[in-house]
Amino acid sequence: MDHLDRLENIGVHIIREAYANFKNLCMLWSIGKDSTVLLWLTRKAFFGHVPIPLVHIDTLYKIPEMIEYRDRLTREWNLTMIYGVNDEAIAAKKTYPDGTVDRITCCRNLKTTALVNTLNGKGRRFKFDHRAGEYAVDTNKEPFTGVIVGVRADEEGSRSKERYFSPRDRQSEWNIGDQPPEFWNQYKTDFAPGTHVRIHPLLDWTELNIWEYIRREGIPTVSLYYNKGDKKRYRSLGCWPCTMPIESESASVDEVIEELKSGKLKNIAERSGRAQDKDDGGGLETLRRDGYM
């Protein structure tokens, strides 16, 4: 049993624990490689099925290939797919590309606020109707009490302090200084009314582990991760105004892995292409305390 098997076992175990303990459970799917590995682990956990609804926060500024890929897998894997969007902020043009707010405020409006309102059911949810082949407003407005998220401890500082099962209070806020203990394979699965729990099955994975696992399992990933001839590729996916491709010739999973292990990316942080992190003093802590993933 190698370390990928171990990581996979822990991930599957945690996903099943979440499914058994939370009645209103969902999984955030950002379309990126991490949450797609999470989706794959879910199919492993449930023997090919995905009995947990997936939630995507659309900002309407996502790179178009991401949305195409999302809807293709939704159909192919028969996923319960829900997306939420902060249409108020978009209508009021309170976004960074509109030139009215800074990057951090834009992230807070289009991602944090949209996420919080999609999770608590106060915002509109759009659900994919497999028969009609399109999205329709979801009538279910019940709050989600368990939210599975694909964050990794090695991504940035505040995430390295996370627990597998991490409580959020009524305002979706995270008290990083007073987290519950978590030991053996017992997790925080009991929660007070109005609060919810974030569940992090990928906490122990590194960026390299993710790619090694994608290669081993043959997981389909969005083509933006690979150089298609212009010597540019995305290392991390987000909104097009704030996410820049990196200079790289890697055109396949193998080449990405090689580049991470020995190439020029060995000592460069993964989110270095994300402009909002720099505006937040190099970390996501401010955004994450407020409920950002």
Binding site: H3, D5, V12, E17, F47, H49, G177, P181, F183, K188
Partner: protein, 600 residues
């Protein structure tokens, strides 16, 4: 391409005994620091005119890695030629004990640091205790600050003897004691040692001697059931028992027994998602099994393999536990205990001894377990759990206690104690083990009769109309086409119980209840809705019945004045003046529980 071995290592010990200094020294002396880090920290010290300390390196790294939040266990990556290490630098301050436990519970080996000058302190012992309880079996002790005691051998020997005895009292054999000086670097790496009397290994050499954790694949098979999946909605007919194997292994065709119910079946297949179905699965894999016979089991049961040592089942246990809750662990208060996937209400029965951090001696006179205390206690569960004892199978001896939605404590089970139901349970386990299953699954019977089987216990004081209600209910259900039977208690007393002569003796009364329960169990297996009446059933009586009959198939109804016994009922009917109304109340409850269905 070979993947490198990884090992999680934790540094623990009393605050200010020099954990961070040793880790800093280790990183510096093995060139494991990012380029320029050492110079940068030294420069900073010069500018601020304070003496350089190796501990600053860790804080500087942590700052970099964690934006200055240093109250939690931070992780530092380190490698030797042999393998990669993740060093967990656990906080030594008592306030952060829960973070120390969170960090240490994932460690495969621990280095416990003791200050030679200050000697063994409160947390030296407490951490040693917690490591043994958390299951960290590989422990080495670093006697630090040897420079401050003039590298004196007698000081080192004193600590080796005293702390060695302490660890052996916990049944932990320390791997090694090393005299070190984090500040001067003695015995951190080979070749730097000013103590001629010590010729043993350095810390760096010790690290490669640790063995990565291996799952106990040779122990008896144990798998806590996480769930039973049936994704019929997606056209999948498989009924998969899912879980993570804690110990041992299982093959297709093996007999499998589930506890605490004692139900038995055989492994038909081992399921997987995108690889060929396997023949065998071993710890620590997550897996899914289908069974030959469709027995009713659910999350919380502990699966074992027939023919191997079976787990223990009881509702009373002697445990060692540590308490982290803001509120103390108190008697009479109800908590939730979780072991494996089993979850059950529990109470603290008694405190046998407090393990005072100063010694392992008794510390009497306490009637509650306070925050950060370690204690040996007896716990009383409201239902029996299946588990192993710590010395047999550590993983399945572990439990946590939940108070007010938070994990407030944890521990290991040392001994199973006989509870009041154990005599009944032993018989039930044997009965389930020997049970001859019908070829017609219960599900099919439910479909045929359009109902689920249920035992309706109607109880209450004398002359409140229990039998009248029972007969009316029987008739009403029968008229609706239900398969229902009212079992008069006299039919049992003078037939099945004919050999019990003295009817009012307490143990005989218990035997009556047990036999009534067994008869009920057979009738429920036939798919019947069974109605039984009895005077003043107690909670204890109900516990015996629940030990015998699946608790989910029992509906306890109390009629008339409350309070004559302590029984917890599902439905209360104050009076049956209006018989139809009383019958309607029970039927409505049955509908809510999905036993019968309203005809639309």
């Amino acid at each position: 391409m070979g993947l490198r071995e990884k090992l999680n290592l934790v540094f623990v010990g009393h605050v200010d005994h020099g954990k961070s200094t040793i880790v800093g020294r280790l990183l510096a002396d093995t060139d494991s620091l990012p380029e320029g880090k050492l110079e940068q920290v030294k420069n900073n010290c010069e500018i601020n005119s304070k003496p350089f300390e190796y501990a600053f390196l860790i804080d500087a790294l942590k700052d970099e890695q964690s934006q200055g939040i240093t109250i939690d266990a931070a992780r530092v990556f380190f490698k030797t030629v042999k393998r990669d290490f993740i060093i967990i630098d656990a906080p030594g301050h008592i306030e952060f004990l829960k973070n120390m436990i969170t960090g240490a519970s994932r460690a495969e080996a621990a280095l416990l640091v003791i200050d030679a000058e200050e000697g063994i302190r409160e947390n030296s012992r407490r951490h040693g205790f917690l490591l043994s309880m958390l299951g960290v079996r590989q422990i080495a002790v670093l006697v630090n600050k040897m420079d401050l005691v003039g590298y004196e051998k007698s000081v080192y020997d004193g600590i080796v003897s005293e702390y060695g005895n302490f660890l052996r009292g916990l049944k932990v054999e320390p791997k090694l004691f090393i005299p070190v000086s984090g500040r001067n670097g003695d015995n951190i790496t080979p070749g730097n040692n000013s103590m001629g009397w010590y010729s043993g290994k350095s810390v760096l050499e010790l690290l490669d001697d640790f063995i990565p954790y291996e799952s106990p694949v040779l122990k008896p098979f144990r798998m806590p059931v996480q769930d039973v999946y049936k994704f019929t909605k997606f056209g999948d007919g498989r009924r998969i028992v899912a879980g993570t194997i804690d110990a041992g292994s299982i093959n297709i065709g093996d007999g499998i027994v589930f506890y605490p119910s004692g139900k038995k079946s055989r492994v038909k297949s081992i399921e997987s998602f995108n690889s060929a179905p396997g023949e065998m699965m071993a710890a620590p894999s997550t897996t899914g099994l289908t069974l030959d016979e469709q027995i009713f089991i659910k999350r919380g049961e502990l699966a074992a393999k027939a023919g191997e040592k079976q787990p223990t089942v009881s509702s009373m246990m002697r445990v060692s536990l540590f308490w982290l809750g803001k509120m103390p662990l108190m008697k009479k208060k109800e908590y939730i205990l979780k072991t494996g996937t089993f979850k059950v209400p529990m109470k603290l029965d008694s405190i046998l001894r407090m393990i005072d951090a100063e010694s392992l001696d008794d510390c009497t006179g306490k009637d509650q377990v306070d925050r950060h205390d370690v204690a040996e206690c007896i716990l009383n569960l409201s239902k029996a759990a299946a588990f192993d004892l710590a010395e047999d199978n550590p993983l399945t001896s572990r439990f946590v206690i939940v108070d007010d939605f938070e994990i407030a404590g944890g521990g290991i089970i040392i001994e199973s104690l006989d509870d009041r139901q154990s005599w009944v349970r032993d018989m039930v386990l044997l009965r389930n083990y020997k049970w001859e299953r019908s070829a017609i699954p219960l599900d099919k019977r439910y479909e045929r009769y359009n109902q689920k089987s249920m035992l309706i216990l109607i109880t209450g004081g004398k002359d409140v109309g229990k039998k009248t209600l029972a007969r009316a209910l029987e008739k009403s259900l029968f008229d609706e086409g239900k398969f229902v039977y009212f079992l008069g208690i006299g039919n049992v007393l003078y037939g099945v119980d004919a050999d019990i002569k003295v009817r009012d003796r307490k143990e005989n009364a218990e035997e009556h209840i047990r036999r009534l329960s067994e008869v009920s169990n057979i009738l429920l297996d036939a798919g019947i809705i069974l109605i039984v009446t009895a005077i003043d059933l107690t909670q204890y009586d109900l516990e015996i019945i629940k030990t015998t009959v699946n608790p989910e198939s029992i509906e306890a109804v109390w009629v008339g004045d409350e309070g004559s016994t302590d029984m917890k009922y599902d439905l209360y009917i104050p009076t049956i003046e209006n018989l139809d109304e009383a019958v309607g109340m029970i039927k409505e409850d049955l509908q809510n529980k999905g036993v019968i269905f309203r005809i639309w």
